[in-house]
Amino acid sequence: MSVGQAIPTTVGEPPDGDLQQQFLYEMLLIRRFEEKCAEMYTRGKIRGFLHLYTGEEACAVGAINALRADDKIVTHYRDHGHALARGVEPNRIMAELFARVGGTNEGRGGSMHIFDVSRNFLGGYAIVAGHMPIATGLGLAANLSGEDWAALCIFGDGGVGEGEFHEALNLAAIWKLPVVWFCENNGYGMGVPFDDSLANDVYKIAASYQMPSVRIDGMDVLEVYSATQLALAHVREGNGPYFIEALTYRYRGHSMADPELYRTKAEVEEYRKRDAIERLKRSMIADGLLDETNYQALVARVDAEVDEAVAFADASPEPGLHTLYDHITKEYEGDAE
């Protein structure tokens, strides 16, 4: 296995027509869901920090579809797309964003902290790289249990500058843990270009921890899918961790609060020309797997689901104040006896 270079990553046959249809559907769902979130944020329905994932859909959809149901995922705060790709219901995610009962975390988490244990979706984490040691621990648990499930850890390029990145990769490497590290390199950590913050390319830094490390086109869902399959096969066989750096781009600002002073509109337009959804659509049409009519039907289906999610969230009640101390040891509050 060559280490530390951009190596060929494609394995086996490309996914069949049904699976490609599924990829297209999921990427569209994420795109429309995120656009709806922006609208709901502007209308004051969603509060707090909101980091949208438009432009990066191919990463979530390609990587997460390569997983088995018993594989476990931890990810960063830009997590709606990952949750959707894992099959978490849009209704429950939107209800969480609206901070309502029926939300994935019953209104206690918010956009950056989506959890769905039933799908082995073990959370969005909002401290940059803070979840990376957790992924190491998941890999350790897989090994200790003698089972062959793996952990997928998704994070941004900004995480590479954190100490926790290095501790987590080193531990996973020395203990040969089944962890796939998946870096969504969208070019920026907030407004800082990644090449201003790192002394080396991301995949080269990872390779120095003696694991296979590849750089792929993160705006090509088929490439992401097959690269992740290859990575999973590697880690499941007991060979230790595997690192993927997926080059991608976010179309919107870092969060809804970002005035985007650090980049030009022209740059964004340049990346939009490589849009992952458009690319898959074109290639599916070329391969006779799709036509404009079924594409429009897919868009209509996705829009209906997103509207339904908003309606569900809006109709859900807010958690009662009496639930404030649910899930915590209640302490003495100061009332005299």
Partner: protein
């Protein structure tokens, strides 16, 4: 004390296959305070795992393994080094159960040695029990006696969410009765009255319980006064009922801790006494605590910076 701690870990590992230990030098070296000596031979390197010096990494790995159904015990060599793992302890371990809406549990035990008094200087002499108690979602255990240490540590392994188990370095050699019963558990949030009297309530945890105890001896021998001495055992959850009912009888309280006085845990106890027993107090609650300086290396200066039984006696006499 260290044998009691070792025995608790050993029994829990025998009882439950999900329990495993990891930490710096806990295996071949036997633990920097020898608490894990012998366990590597008995359980092997998978369940007694030596780690690199990566506190954040290993605590986070403990959180991850806990999320996946294991019951890890991570030993942090000393409490001083927990400061580089605070992100994992505070942002992850303490919050995941609540923040996930109760979906996940984090049954993680973090053991660490605490306290000054060995001329190790400012970076190696912290007492940060109160800092951990500040965070909702953590249980903070501070035993003062070997028997309690065993029962509390065994109880910690049964807790579905994180426990910070803090051992005073000055107590590792302490002797005392330790029950053999493998089901001897000490419940959290239950202080113990280690001595009773009528004139004043002395409250401590971990090492400071012993200062309270010796101060009580001095008070009775030299001043004809008797004291309730309360060992909190866990500072979160905190058993204020025992403290409050004692203060309502004695009408005076002194809280003793090694940690800095300013913003320290003794202030929390004093405030709660004030909230719940104000009308019973004959004097303001006194705090005897560490002096607000980074711990000096010099022996005399260090001694002056730490609370002593003489300080406790003085505080009591001042409130009569």
């Amino acid at each position: 004390m260290r044998e009691a701690i070792r025995e608790a870990m050993r029994e829990e590992m025998l009882r439950d296959q999900r329990v495993f230990l990891m930490g710096e030098d806990i295996g071949a070296y036997g633990g920097s305070y020898a608490c894990t000596r012998g366990l590597l031979d008995e359980f092997g390197p998978e369940r007694v795992r030596d780690t690199p010096i990566s506190e954040s990494g290993i605590v986070g790995a403990g959180v991850g393994a806990a999320l996946a159904g294991f019951i890890p015990m991570v030993e942090i060599m000393t409490i001083n080094f927990s400061l580089v793992a605070l992100d994992q302890i505070v942002n992850n371990a303490s919050k995941l159960h609540y923040m996930s809406g109760g979906q996940v549990n984090v049954p993680l035990v973090l053991r660490m040695a605490s306290g000054g008094g060995s001329q190790l200087g400012a970076t190696h002499s912290h007492s940060l029990e109160g800092m951990f108690a500040h965070f909702p979602g953590l249980t903070v255990v501070c035993p003062a006696f070997p028997g309690d240490a065993k029962g509390l540590l065994k109880r910690s392994f049964r807790e579905p969410n994180p426990v910070v188990f803090i051992e005073h370095t000055a107590l590792y050699g302490a002797r005392g009765e330790v029950p053999d019963d493998p089901e001897h558990l000490v419940e959290f949030g239950q202080a113990s009255m280690v001595r009773s009297g009528t004139d004043v309530t002395l409250v401590g945890y971990s090492g400071s319980v012993h200062q309270c105890y010796r101060a009580a001896d001095m008070l009775s021998a030299e001043h004809g006064l008797t004291a309730d001495v309360i060992d909190l055992r866990t500072i979160r959850p905190l058993d204020m009922s025992t403290v409050v009912s004692s203060v309502r009888r004695t009408n005076r309280a002194v809280v003793v801790e090694d940690d800095w006085k300013f913003g320290g845990f003794a202030g929390e106890i004093a405030a709660q006494i004030m909230e719940r027993a104000f009308d019973w107090l004959d004097a303001p609650v006194a705090r005897v605590a560490g002096k607000d300086v980074p711990m000096p290396y010099n022996r005399n200066l260090e001694y002056a910076a730490l609370p002593s039984e003489e300080d406790v006696v003085e505080a009591v006499l001042a409130m009569l």
